[in-house]
């Protein structure tokens, strides 16, 4: 059942992203040249780029090592794959923290976004970008999913829980990890899309 869910989630992600990309390319958005103001502020930009790249690589690594066994329909994650998963998970934990720190300020919800999210009709609020709203939403869900994903794996490493309880933790880990990966991918895509929209404007 979990394997079906994983395949379904990955298929839905691919479908959503591919569809949105197709829509965007059809609109022929013109990329705006990099503004002079951006060039002067090169270090934070480079840092953001590095952190985002590191986050993306670690996410990819932890996703591949984590879900390979599930997709290959093997009984359990073990052996060298588990070792690789645990190793990359350490890097992912650090990268996730860095990405969160970089993005958390930009992903605060504005009043207008709150109005839109809650279905309110605020008249004075500026127009809200749907892509940015989705980016922010996925960021917070990804953040909320990352914590149980890390915590369940960590708890199992300490002499605190029995093997039976570890199985419960494993189930939580699997569910929260799937949620984290899906939301992280969508967050990353929305961030890129928002950037394209920003440059197109």
């Amino acid at each position: 059942m979990y394997r079906t869910a994983v395949i379904g989630v990955f298929a839905a992600l691919s479908f959503l992203i591919a569809g949105d990309l197709a829509r965007r390319f059809r609109l022929h958005r013109v990329r705006r040249p990099v503004r002079e103001a951006d060039r002067t502020d090169w270090f934070p930009g480079l840092l953001r780029l590095c952190v985002n790249l590191a986050g993306a690589v670690c996410l990819a690594a932890v996703t591949v090592t984590g879900f390979a066994a599930v997709l290959a329909n093997t009984p359990a994650l073990g052996g060298y794959l588990l070792m690789a998963h645990v190793t990359t998970a350490g890097g992912f934990a650090g990268a996730a923290l860095a990405v969160a720190v970089i993005w958390i300020w930009r992903n605060r919800f504005t009043h207008a976004e709150c109005e839109r999210l809650t279905g309110g009709k605020g008249s004075s609020a500026p127009p809200v970008s749907g892509t940015i709203l989705l980016r922010k939403t996925f960021f917070w869900i990804a953040l909320a999913s990352t914590i149980p994903t890390l915590a369940t794996a960590l708890l199992a490493m300490f002499p605190l829980v029995s093997p039976a309880q570890q199985q419960v933790l494993l189930q939580i880990h699997r569910i929260s990890a799937l949620s984290m990966v899906a939301c992280s991918v969508l967050f990353a895509y929305c961030a890129l899309a928002a950037e394209w929209e920003h440059r197109g404007n």
């Binding site: 958390i104 914590i147 490493m157 829980v161």
Partner: protein, 633 residues
């Protein structure tokens, strides 16, 4: 069908059943086999019977020894059913062998022989009759440690068959387990067997009588019922029974202290196993099985009904098949609940503690037996040696207590069980002479080899410590050539020792090679069970997941009479374990603390960030509900 034909058919069936000896009624249980419901110990004040079933009058001039089968089974206990129990049925056809158990190890230092034997079809052990060892030779060597009845078999020579009538047959010795009398002496039983006083052994061991004389000194024509026919010089050596009058009550009946449940001390006589360094040293320094230390008895787990199919308590044993109660007597069944869903309350209401195994990944419970962590000697860089009661005669008179005395039993060896789980084992490296037949080595009768070597003055002088004699490949070559010359036309003679097969090559030199039959005979360690605080893993994962972890990387000492024994790696016995992976895992362990620290720190900061966001959201929500406006929430 018409009525007339129905009646004819019924009569015909009735007639056929009568001819076939169909029992008119089920056999009634005997008096002593009917549970009275009382928890008290049944009193046994009984008449002693000889092997013909006649009551013994201890005051007779030449009283006979009592027969355990006649005395216990005369009218009280179903000895025929009991004789199919685990301790008695090794040689019976159709009995499931179960997993490997401790073999009988035939040793002969003079011919550098150490061969595991068993009447059960255990992997790596040889049936005595296949090695040319008859029942009499077997009884003389090992009879003291088996309560099973023994009499002549097809491997006995004509002389052996004659000697059986002199010594008498070995009966099922009920007293070996059930006699709780402080004077019952199994070591005396062993001594009597050494004197060939088979029919007298139980009587002598019981303390009811003193037995003098030795059947071994009697001629092949000796008749124990006609002692007067023995020549005068041998009269003092005629086996005689001198019953102790004070052991009899009025009516010539004798009280026996018989317990339904065998006392653990009785079990220990045959089932003791200790480190080689322990015999001869102070016992109080030795450890003990945690169950025994908590006041339990062997029979509380190794239990049986009238059929004496005593449970061995490993998972999947035939005796527990379809028997939920027997299934609950295994480690897992008692402590964690049996596979059939029975709760882990423990049999007999013992309320066995449920192991929490905190921090232990569930994978370990799937791939390791309970004994892997909890039983046997603690592993170290190299395997040690053990002595067992049966192999080394512990508890018998004049047992060789030297640490180097044969047989050499190596432990602990962590090997893969039949179900794929790893478990601790004892190992004995076979060393014997044989002939290659159809790709298999058929062992030669060690006694025949010895007589051959004796004739040619090639047998080695056993060392005083009882260990291996000094031999080398030159001697092996001499013996192989002798075996070749002694039986021209016979298959090639070979020698197995120290994990190798030795044979003569075309040029007449000795060459060694690997051979499956040279691999050690392994049997699982079940005891002593260590509690959680002394189990593997009590000091952390690195008890096993370290670069020098003995359970994966220890050296298993190869025991060989030849000097170049050497060692094998533990991993040789773990075909499903990837040693390279285990080493990688062990190497990665030092980074685990960093992993934990990084991931913990990240998780905590991420939680704080999330809480910060939630706080902002709550503030915003509050502001909205109170009508205030802010740019950001």
């Amino acid at each position: 069908m018409r009525p007339a034909s129905s009646i004819v058919s019924m009569l015909a069936i009735t007639g056929m059943l009568s001819v076939a000896g169909w029992p008119a009624e089920a056999q009634k249980p005997l008096l002593g086999d009917i549970p009275s419901g009382s928890r008290s110990r049944p009193v046994h004040v009984i008449s002693l019977r000889d092997e013909n079933g006649d009551t013994i009058q201890p005051g007779d001039r030449l009283p006979l020894p009592f027969s355990t089968e006649q005395t216990c089974g005369g009218g009280c206990h179903d000895v025929q059913t009991i004789r199919r129990g685990w301790h008695f049925n090794a040689a019976l056809p159709g009995v499931a062998a179960g997993r490997n158990g401790e073999p009988w190890i035939w040793i002969d230092s003079a011919t550098a022989t150490q061969i595991p034997l068993s009447y059960r079809a255990w992997n790596g052990a040889y049936r005595p009759q296949d090695v040319g060892i008859g029942a009499r030779a077997f009884a003389l060597r090992f009879g003291a440690r088996t309560p099973a009845p023994m009499e002549t078999d097809s491997a006995d020579s004509a002389l052996d068959r004659a000697r059986w009538s002199v010594s008498g047959k070995l009966e099922a010795n009920c007293l070996a387990c059930h006699d709780r009398s402080p004077v019952y002496d199994q070591a005396e039983y062993a001594r009597q067997l050494g004197l060939e006083n088979f029919r007298y052994a139980a009587t002598a061991a019981s303390g009811m009588a003193i037995v003098t004389g030795a059947s071994s000194k009697m001629s092949n024509l000796f008749d124990y019922l006609l002692p007067g026919s023995v020549e005068d010089s041998l009269q003092p050596s005629i086996p005689q029974v001198h019953y102790a009058a004070e052991r009899f009550l009025a009516g010539q009946k004798a009280p026996f202290d018989i317990a339904r449940q065998a006392d653990s001390n009785r079990c220990y006589f045959c089932h003791t196993e200790v480190d080689v360094a322990l015999p001869g040293k102070e016992r109080w320094k030795a450890g003990e099985d945690v169950h025994m230390a908590r006041g339990m008895a062997c029979v509380q787990c190794h239990s049986n009904g009238l059929n004496h199919a005593i449970t061995r308590n490993y998972e999947g044993e035939p005796a527990a098949e379809g028997n939920a109660f027997a299934d609950s007597l295994s480690c897992r069944g008692c402590h964690m609940g049996s596979a059939n869903g029975q709760q882990a309350t423990g049999p007999h209401g013992l309320n066995a503690p449920y192991p929490k195994h905190k921090g232990l990944p569930a994978l370990h419970l799937e791939r390791l037996s309970c004994t892997f962590c909890h039983a046997g000697p603690m592993p170290s860089g190299t395997t040690g040696r053990m002595k067992t009661a049966r192999a080394h005669g512990l508890g018998e008179h004049n047992a060789n207590l030297d640490a180097d005395a044969l047989p050499h039993i190596v432990a602990p060896v962590y090997a893969q069980q039949g179900d794929g789980k790893l478990a601790p084992y004892r190992a004995v490296w076979p060393a014997f002479w044989g002939r290659m037949k159809a790709g298999r080595v058929e062992p030669l009768n060690p006694e025949w080899v010895r007589s051959l070597l004796d004739r040619k003055k090639l047998s080695r002088q056993p060392p005083a410590d009882g260990g291996w004699p000094r031999i080398d490949t030159a001697w092996v070559k001499q013996v192989l050539q002798l075996l070749k010359q002694s039986a021209p036309g016979q298959p090639e003679a070979v020698y197995i020792a120290g994990g190798k097969l030795y044979r003569l090559d075309a040029s007449g030199d000795v060459k060694s090679e690997a051979n499956a039959q040279a691999e050690p005979y392994l049997w699982a360690i079940g005891h002593d069970v260590r509690p959680a605080t002394q189990a593997l893993g009590a000091n952390g994962c690195q008890d096993c997941h370290a670069k020098t972890s003995p359970v994966f990387f220890a050296d298993v000492a190869v025991d060989s009479p030849l000097a170049q024994g050497g060692t094998w790696k533990m991993n040789h016995f773990q075909p499903a374990v990837d040693a390279a992976y285990q080493l990688s895992l062990a190497n990665s362990w030092k980074y685990r603390v960093w992993l934990k620290a990084t991931a913990s720190g990240a998780a905590i900061v991420l939680l704080l960030l999330l809480l910060g966001g939630a706080y902002q959201a709550l503030v915003g929500l509050s502001a909205r509900l109170s009508g205030r406006r802010r740019d950001h929430v």
